[in-house]
């Protein structure tokens, strides 16, 4: 089994920016919309190279979502960019009616998701966005784990017809997925084979899951690690295949325990293969100010928390 190592830490949002730069050159129908956050979303190159295809909307996210929906009428492929909070909760009805129900080919791209936004605090640290977005019929929901995967997902979305939500983050994190790893929407990636427990992780928690697997190995526990970048549609087959072997599962995400990846996995288990599950997620609370590391430790979203969850779940087998 391939061993994943950090090839140099980068932020996932720069992966998005790099993807947009490449799409700008490759696909003339791709357009970008931003609500006063060009630097944060790494739109600088796209804007410079394709000013006619870049739309600065100003601080008006509802209008941005509507304009994006309108741009699809005429064959454009709009990518909207702002923080995750303003990409989802703030504009939920606009997404619901003008994008999802209207079946528009809009890509809602959201940086600064979750606690790792850090010092700005709870107003900006949305932990409910995966739940909000996965509840919309027809919406694809993706949460990428590193720079390379975010870039690959951005490119893949341009070729995928339909509304989609792409969630990524603010901080610099390990970049460990190979740059040439194919990104198939809805297809999980097995990162580490194991026999005692399945760890299903998404976003920034994928790297933590790999660290946890090493720590568990030292304790004699063989952990299988699955990188679930697409939360909807969920790769049920990959989860069930692993579960048939390990008989227990831990889910890990930077999101509220309610409405996130964990609950999607629970549903799969309930329908097809009831088994013990433990959740690494925020326990139904808002975040707060602090460094990303402090917050991930306080809210138990790091590799130690995953190890503890694995030990709990194995006892329940």
């Amino acid at each position: 089994m391939k061993k994943y190592t950090n090839t140099g830490s980068k932020d996932t949002r720069s992966g998005f920016g790099a993807g947009m730069t490449e799409l700008g050159q490759k696909n003339e129908n791709v357009v970008a919309l931003c609500a006063d956050l060009i630097g944060s979303l790494k739109f600088d190159d796209f804007k410079k190279n394709h000013p006619e295809r870049f739309f600065q909307i100003g601080i008006a996210e509802a209008n941005m979502i509507g304009i994006a929906a309108g741009l699809t009428i005429g064959g454009k492929i709009p990518f909207t960019g702002t923080f995750a909070n303003f990409s989802t909760g703030r504009v939920y009805d606009q997404i619901r009616q003008s994008v999802a129900y209207s079946e528009k080919n809009v890509k809602i791209c959201a940086s600064h998701a979750g606690l790792t936004l850090g010092e700005d605090g709870a107003t900006h640290q949305i932990l409910e966005d995966i739940g909000l977005m996965k509840m919309l019929p027809g919406m694809t929901v993706i949460n990428t784990c590193d720079y390379n995967q975010t870039k690959a997902a951005t490119l893949a979305l341009a070729d995928h017809h339909g509304p989609a939500y792409l969630r990524f983050g603010r901080p610099v994190v390990p970049n460990f997925m190979p740059a040439d790893e194919p990104f198939v929407i809805g297809k999980a990636i097995l990162l580490n084979e194991g026999t005692d427990v399945t760890i299903v992780a998404t976003g920034h928690l994928v790297w933590e899951a790999l660290i946890a697997a090493e720590a568990l190995e030292a304790k004699g526990i063989s952990a299988e690690v699955i990188n679930i970048h697409t939360i909807k549609p969920l790769d049920e087959e990959a989860i069930l295949k692993s579960l048939a072997k390990t008989k227990c599962i831990v889910t890990a995400e930077e999101h509220n325990i309610l409405g996130g990846l964990g609950e999607s996995v629970s549903r799969v288990l309930a329908l097809h293969h009831p088994a013990p599950q433990e959740f690494v997620a925020v326990n139904d609370s808002f975040g707060e100010s602090g460094t990303p590391e402090q917050l991930m430790e306080k809210y138990k979203l790091n590799n130690q928390a995953i190890v503890e969850a694995v030990e709990r779940v194995i006892k329940r087998k």
């Binding site: 509507g66 929906a69 741009l71 009428i73 005429g74 064959g75 619901r96 009616q97 528009k104």
Partner: protein, 284 residues
């Protein structure tokens, strides 16, 4: 060949009959605003818009229309059907289970002529602006038309869109506001007085013109032709269309009571009697 004024007036009466019969049949829907905008939509689809045969979502090479105040779906559906987008007989399915003619318009069921869902108010102008900008990117020299309720302007997203359109010189759009002065809870002045809507659009640097007789086909065509001549000059164009809610049915006019209420059997008969001569056209 465009229909003449008499033919447009005949069609207007037929559309009114459709609206009344549709909402009566399901005892629900919004006749008031629909009747108020009948002449406008008839003029738009039968005289003003450059339209291609058939329907495709992208609508490249033709003028497009977006209905933002989706609750006046009865008039939209009737005019679309009578303009050839789908069979007139399908009007009989309005608001019924498994129908493409949902209570509020949607693309979800593939009804030709509809390019966005509307119903939750205040979203249509943004979508119309996006479609207008797509036309510019495609070097498509056609116009985007949109229709909005006056009460709908109380939704804040409109003002984001209004600010944006002038700042970005989206000058291939004609947004029409149905100025009937009424909303569900009463007059717009009573519910939330918006002051001068004209002054507000002008303050946001739109080109504004008014059609005082918004229920007169000839006045609408003249006004909208004027509006069309003002496109392409660096500013978005707003038309303030003065209409009478419930127009064409005497007991539905001068009140907000028929915003979202269907006529009973006797009321339908009385209303249809007032809208009798359709110039040989037939009910669905």
């Amino acid at each position: 060949m465009k229909p003449n004024t008499q033919q447009l007036n005949d069609l207007t009466i037929q559309v009114r009959r459709d609206i009344l019969r549709m909402v009566h049949a399901v005892n629900s829907g919004h006749p008031g605003g629909s009747l108020g905008c009948t002449e406008f939509l008839v003029a738009l689809y039968q005289n003003l818009m450059e339209r291609k045969e058939g329907f495709d979502m992208d609508g490249i090479g033709e003028d497009l229309f977006f209905l933002s105040n989706g609750h006046i779906s009865p008039v939209f559906y009737s005019v679309l059907a009578r303009s050839g987008y789908f069979p007139v007989s399908e009007l009989a399915t309005f608001r019924l289970i498994n129908s493409r003619l949902q209570g509020h318009p949607t693309t979800h069921d593939g009804l030709p002529g509809v390019r966005m869902a509307s119903g939750s108010l205040g979203q249509g102008l943004s979508v119309a602006i996006g479609a207008a900008q797509a036309k510019k990117l495609n070097n498509d020299n056609h116009i985007i038309y949109s229709l909005h309720g006056d009460g709908e302007l109380q939704e804040g997203q409109n003002w984001e869109a209004i600010m944006y359109a002038s700042a970005k010189k989206v000058d291939n759009i004609i947004a029409t506001v149905d100025l009937n002065g009424k909303q569900i809870d009463g007059s717009t002045d009573e519910v939330l007085n918006m002051g001068s809507i004209r002054a507000k659009f002008e303050a946001f640097d739109w080109e504004v013109l008014e059609i005082k007789e918004g229920n007169n086909i000839e006045a609408i065509i003249a006004g909208m032709t004027d509006a069309k001549s003002r496109t392409g000059k660096g500013k978005p164009v707003c038309v303030l269309l003065h209409t009478e809610m419930g127009n064409g049915v005497d007991f539905m006019m001068h009140t907000h009571a028929w915003h979202g209420k269907a006529p009973n059997d006797a009321q339908l008969e009385a209303a249809l009697t007032q809208n009798y001569n359709t110039g040989g056209q037939s009910d669905y």
